[in-house]
Every structure is written in C-alpha cells, then in structure tokens.
C-alpha cells in the first residue's frame, strides 16, 4: 500500500510542527508556503522561556532534512478539486530567477537594485530590494516580481490599469482605450457605473486619495465618441464554424459574445427577451447614470463583428431551451436576476400601486409607466433602492422616501449614490421598517412603519435591527416600491433540465470555465452569483468564452 499523502498549507510554526508529526507517522508530506522561506523561528506562546531558548526550533532543521517531506516555498495554491476522496491541487511555484547554487552572496545585486520596498518577511520593519534574501541565514536569493499591480489584481477582469492610466498621462487617449478594449468591450458603460473595487485597493490611498480609475476609463471612451472615431475590431484569420447560443444580452452575454467573436467564431446568436439590449444596464441602470445612446453604440460595435441579437424572444416561451441545446454547439446562460422579491407583509397583494424595483425601473426605462402622482416610498438600502428613488424624483413624485432598517453606515449602496440622493432631496428614513400596507378602494394610500434600533451583531457582522415596541407611524403614499433584493427567474428551463442549482435558484458552475454540470451548457453573471456588480458579470462572460472555446476545440 502506498503511503498516505498529506499537503500542509502554510510553512509557519504550526505548519512545520504538523508536517513533522505527519512525516514521523509515515506519511508523504508536502509543505506549501507563500514566502520564499519557511518561518518557524518564533517565540513560544504557551510556556515561559529562558532567553537562550528563544527562536530555537529544532523541528525546522529536521523538516528541512526529512526524506518524507517536500518543501514548496514561494508557492501559491491555484485550484483545488475533490476527486473521489482525493484532493487534486494545482500549485504554482514561483521562479526565484536566481540559481542559488552559483550565488556566492557577494551582495552586488542588492547594492545596485534601484527598487526599495517594505520587507514583508520582517513585518515591514526594514526594506528589501527587488532582488534579495528574506533573511541572512535561512533563505535563498530571489527576485520579487508581482504578477500584476494591486489594482489590476483586484479588478474582476484584470484590466491593465497601470498601462491605460499611464497612456492617458502621456496624452495617448485612443491608445489607452484600445488597451482597455483588449479586456473590456463596454468601456463607456462600465466607466460610468462601476463601483470600482480597484480604487478601493489603490495604493495611492495611503498617501492621499486613490486614483479616479473608473472615470478615466469613461474619459477615453468619451474622447473617441467626441472625435467621431470608429474603432476597428480585428478578428483573426482562423475562423470556427460552431454555432453558439447566448441567453440574455446583458453584460455577461455581450462580453461572452464579444470574446468568442474575437477568437474567430462566426455564428453567435444572442436571444434577448426584451426589445432592447444591455440587460440590467438598459432596464436597471437609469438614463441619468448611463445614457441609452451610449450603451446602444457599444452594443452596436459588438454586433458589427458578426454577433446577432434576436430581440423579443423569451426562452421557454418563444423558443424552447431544448431547441437551443439541439441547434447549437454550446449555450451560455446569462439571464441575470430580474425578479424583485416580495416584502411579505399584510396588504402587499391587495392594493394597486405596489411595484417591485426591478419592474419599476424596467417599465420606466421602456417608457411604460403612467405619469407620477403623489408620494413614493422605496424600501431597501441597496443601489437599486437609491436608483428607484432618484428615478421617482425625476419622474415628478411630490415626495420621495427611502426606508432602511439600519443606519447609513450599514447601507449596502455606494456612499456617493446615497449622498447624491440626499442632495437631490430624497428623504432617507433610517432605522425604519415596513409593517403593513394601507389602502382604500383597491389603491394604496400609505404604509405603516415601525422604528428600529440596532442590537447585537449577526453572522454578517452587521448589527441586527430590532423593532421598538409602540413606535409605529404612518407615511401617506400612492406608490410603494420594494427594493429589498432580486432573484433569478429560471422559468425558461424545462422541467427535466438536470442542471445543478443552488438553494437560491442560481447555477452551480466551474468558476474557471463557466461550465455547468451539463456538457455544452455554460452560465455566468448574476444568474450564478445573485445580484452583483456589472464588472463581475463581464468577468464571468470572459471566463465562459474561454471555457466554451476549450470545450468546442476538445470535442
């Protein structure tokens, strides 16, 4: 019988000790550590010591010389898979870029290296240079080279931010836009609405404020528009004949189509239930944040590459899902989250004038709403709630309220959106929750609310709101928009679809390829993650495009 194989993640004190225990018991042990050296020289925390015992760790030497232990330093775990009882692990061992058997420790390299940085191994007490050793006795020389800067690493689509911002600084705006388009087909749209996780990560914040990365992207997209330049997308010589169906022309579907077209696929068809493209970007993001004209242009650019969009076609009604599977070589589902969830309070289903935020925003965007009259209450604290309120305010409601059960600090919406709503005169009522919807003659007349206070933190770490007894009050209103959350609408699937679904009715996929458990069916975007930001849907579309390509080429 083979020896048991064990992977120890982490080469600190615990890792080294556990590795030795396992190896002594006869297992084949591998240690994976992020740093270029093991770091088990620690001061004990469980017993008092004499000074000469400090930092002594006989285990460390034993581990280094043990026959059953393989040490992988400077390594990251890239992927883990369970495979009938075994754990398959993909490990990336970074190159040291130094052949330490030749090195004679003359220090010439660290003397000349022009890059100083905080030494992570010494907890930032000193500097290390780009080429250096972690410490004098135990470590080998290595060149520290990050794969990408922190902004790019944080960006779900790994946009080369450093380059495109640098190109703007050099005044080369169109080159900058071309750089963005290499990874993102919707720069003007995303540049307007992205909540920019990259800026939250930006190192500049430790000096003053982060760089305005997102708006710079919008700037170059606007430059192209102003100058009337028509960009040319090059598609490769090599063409592929396979047919690919995409459900939903939202950010995930459009990106997937775009990437496949640029790989050389010529038969890509997007099925869209609405008469307009863009998915939530069109019917969820209001015009004042993202003008439809601009979105339409960016979609047109994708269509110019030979992508076909068939509008007003709802899968499951106009075309059966099975037909897609039969007629096409691969199917990508990017159907999004277009179902507003209910409040579940009395009166909700009785009166006319209650309209969930998804429907409210969609019908407004499509121009189907009657003229605004009276007061509006929006319930919820997310970006959809703020959008609904600001849209309501623009439609001409006399007064617009937002009701949120926690305080401004806990509100999930972006702070700048909340500020803008307040600035425009939307009335935000914090620590308030709906109790009952009131009505007369079949129509909404108002809502009974209750005041809340914050209690103990819950699992998510946020303090749980608790109603204050006897604090009920009434707000008069003619329209009420619940904006508490959104869910997926999977009614397009046939009953015997065999697809793995989570308990939130979202698809389970392989994150790297977007593949579902059914061969040839891929999914991505909100329909997998639940309501999330657009750039992550774009990233999902990109992953799926690669996944589909690999799937079709290996068939």
């Amino acid at each position: 019988m083979d020896d048991k194989t064990v992977l120890i993640v982490g080469g600190g004190l615990d890792g080294v000790r556990t590795a030795l225990e396992q190896a002594e018991a006869g297992a084949q042990v591998t240690i994976v550590e992020k740093f270029p050296t093991l770091g088990a020289e620690r001061i004990p925390r469980d017993r008092l010591i004499r000074p000469e015992q400090a930092f002594m760790n006989p285990d460390l030497d034993k581990v280094r010389d043990h026959n059953n232990i393989r040490i992988l330093t400077y390594s990251d775990i890239k992927k883990v898979n369970r495979d009938n009882g075994k754990q398959r692990v993909r490990i990336l061992k970074h190159s040291l870029r130094v052949d330490n058997s030749k090195c004679n420790d003359c220090k010439a390299c660290i003397q000349v290296c022009p890059v100083n940085m905080f030494d992570d191994f010494d907890e930032g007490l000193g500097f290390r240079t780009a080429i250096d050793h972690c410490n004098l006795t135990t470590s080998e020389y290595n060149i520290y080279k990050e794969d990408m800067p922190v902004c790019q690493e944080t960006c779900p689509v790994n946009l080369d931010i450093r380059s495109y911002v640098g190109l703007i600084a050099d005044g080369k705006h169109l080159e900058s836009l071309a750089k963005i388009r290499e990874r993102l087909p919707l720069p003007g749209s995303i540049g307007r609405i992205c909540p920019h996780p990259c800026e939250t990560a930006c190192n500049r914040q430790y000096l003053d404020e982060p760089i305005s990365i997102c708006f710079l992207k919008r700037f170059v997209a606007d430059v192209e528009l102003d100058q009337g330049v028509e960009p040319v997308y090059e598609t490769p010589e090599q063409k592929y004949p396979e047919k690919i169906a995409i459900v939903g022309a939202g950010p995930a579907g459009l990106t997937c189509a775009h990437d496949l077209a640029r790989m050389g696929y010529e038969h890509i068809k997007i099925f869209e239930a609405l008469p307009v493209p863009g998915g939530y970007l069109w019917v969820g993001i209001p015009e004042y944040r993202l003008p439809k004209k601009l979105l339409q242009r960016e979609v047109d650019l994708i269509c110019n590459m030979g992508v076909e969009i068939q509008y007003n076609t709802r899968i499951g009604k106009d075309v059966a899902f099975e037909d897609l599977q039969n007629d096409f070589d691969a199917v990508f589902i990017g159907a999004g989250c277009h179902q507003g969830l209910k409040l579940r309070i009395p009166g909700e289903d009785e009166f006319e004038g209650i309209i969930d935020c998804v429907t409210f925003l969609r019908e407004q965007a499509l121009g189907n709403l009657p003229k605004a009259k009276g007061k509006l209450i929006v319930i919820g604290g997310g970006n959809a709630a703020i959008d609904s309120a600001r849209v309501g305010w623009r439609m001409g409601f006399d007064e617009v309220y937002i009701l949120y059960r926690r305080t401004k600090k806990e509100m999930p919406a972006n702070s700048w959106e909340i500020d803008a709503a307040e600035h425009e005169g939307v009335i935000l009522q914090y620590l308030a929750a709906p109790v009952e919807i009131l009505g007369a003659n079949g129509k909404v007349t108002g809502m009974k609310c209750i005041k809340m206070e914050l209690g103990e933190p819950d699992d998510s770490g946020r303090r749980r709101p608790v109603p204050i007894e006897g604090s009920e009050y009434i707000i008069d209103a003619e329209t009420i928009v619940p904006a508490i959350s959104q869910g997926t609408d999977l009614s397009f699937l046939p009953e015997d679809h065999n697809l793995n679904l989570s308990r939130w009715n979202t698809f389970g996929i392989d994150e790297e390829t977007g593949a579902t458990n059914v061969p040839g069916v891929f999914a991505g975007g909100d329909v997998v993650t639940g309501p999330d930001i657009a750039i992550r849907a774009v990233a999902a579309g990109k992953h799926a495009a690669v996944g589909i390509h690999e799937y079709l080429r290996s068939k």
Partner: protein, 238 residues
C-alpha cells in the same frame, strides 16, 4: 554662423562644442554647477535630424531628468535648459541665447534668491546630486529608456512614459537621501540621531536607509556609545 552673420549676443556665455548632445553626461552637469556655473543651456538638433539617429531624444530625456532632480534638491530647474535649433539658424540661436541670458540674470547667482536652497548648502546638495547622477542605478535605468518604452523590460512589459518617469522619480528621491547619508558617514562614524541633526531627513527614514545599507554590507555597526548605536562606512572594493 551667428558670427558670420555678424549677429550680436551676450559675451557672458561660454560655448562648449560637442559632437552630439547625447554626449552630455548629467553628472558632468551637476559638477559644472558645483564649479560656479549659474546656468546651462544645451542646444541640440531638431528631432529627426540627429546624425546618430536618437542622440538628441536621449539628451532631452537626460536633461529633463536632471531638471527634475534639480527641482527636488532645491536648485531652480530653469538654470538648466534644453533647446533645439539647426546649424543654419543663426538668428534662432541668438534669440535662444539672449532669452536664456535674461532668465539667468533674473535668477541671479546660484544659491541666491532664485533658488529654494541657498549657498553654501546648495553645493552640498549638488555634490549629492552628482553622486546620484554618476551612480549606476540612474545611469542604467536611464539607458534602458528606449527599450522600456519600445520593446519592454525583462518581463516584456512595455512602459508608458509616465510609468518610466515614476520609476525615475522614485530612484531620484531615494538616491539623493542615501548619497547625503553616505557623504556624512564619509566624514566619520555617526549615530542615526547625529545624522538626523545634520540632514533635513526625518530620523525614521534615515534609520530605514541605514538598516538597508547595513543589509547590503555598505554600512556597519561600529560601537554603541551610551544608548546610541554608531554606524560607519564599510570600504567597498572597486
């Protein structure tokens, strides 16, 4: 040519003829200013006219970098200029010279009202600047400018000009401070506290640099006097 055309210009300039502006070594420039120069104008050919293909482009980049360094150490960067004219344009040359002459007259002598740092400290700063400009770090990276912008670095990453300038900025700031520390230590062993008293650099930064220099084997702990560790230079093999 100006002479041939009998055009008049100020007698207070001294022209130094060189084969190509690309020959100008920034360390030479810093040295010239230490010797009492008040202004230096480098006049090269127009871009595209260079006999050696890109000598003037590189000269411009080097002068720009030196100006940046001057600004950083407190020397008015207007004292150093890069201008272009062709050998046939005598009147342009005279105009450039006259303008520059007036500018330098306005600024007055080096280390006077025209500069942030005054004499005699300004000469110490220029000495550190010379050490930086003669050092391998800045020379090597400046020499890599063209490949970095056009074909990429060792990892194939192509730099934008902005990115390249940022890298140079970083080297300038650190190198000036390190060279000032090394110059002080050359005078004799000192503690971090002493160095902070002599130089206008925060003590925690000095300590970081000293620690880094110690790690590189360029500085060593000499002794501990009272509660102050005293550091000294380690002579380097050349």
């Amino acid at each position: 040519m100006a002479g041939v055309s009998r055009l008049q210009y100020t007698p207070e300039i001294k022209t130094v003829r060189i084969m190509c502006t690309g020959r100008i070594d920034p360390a030479m420039v810093a040295r010239a200013f230490q010797k009492g120069l008040d202004g230096l104008m480098v006049v090269g050919c127009y871009f595209g006219d260079c006999h050696y293909i890109s000598g003037n482009v590189q000269a411009k980049a080097k002068i720009d970098m030196t100006r940046k360094l001057f600004k950083y150490i407190g020397v008015n960067e207007e004292r150093l200029a890069f201008r272009q004219c062709s050998s046939g344009e005598a009147s342009v040359f005279v105009k450039l010279v006259t303008e520059f002459d007036e500018k330098i007259r306005d600024l007055g002598p080096l280390g006077g009202d025209g500069d942030r740092v005054k004499a005699p400290e300004i000469f110490g700063k220029l000495k550190a600047a010379e050490a930086v400009l003669a050092g391998e770090k800045i020379r090597w990276v400046m020499g890599k400018r063209t490949p970095f912008l056009e074909t990429g670095n060792m990892y194939g990453e192509i730099f934008t000009e902005h990115e390249f300038n940022r890298a140079i900025d970083m080297i300038i700031v650190e190198e000036i401070e390190v060279q000032e520390i090394l110059a002080k230590l050359k005078e004799g062993a000192r503690s971090v506290k002493d160095l902070a008293g002599d130089l206008a650099i925060p003590s925690e930064r000095i300590f970081r640099y000293i620690t880094a220099l110690k790690r590189k084997g360029m500085v060593a702990l000499d002794n501990v006097t009272d509660r102050s560790p005293i550091f000294q230079l380690v002579p380097q093999e050349v």
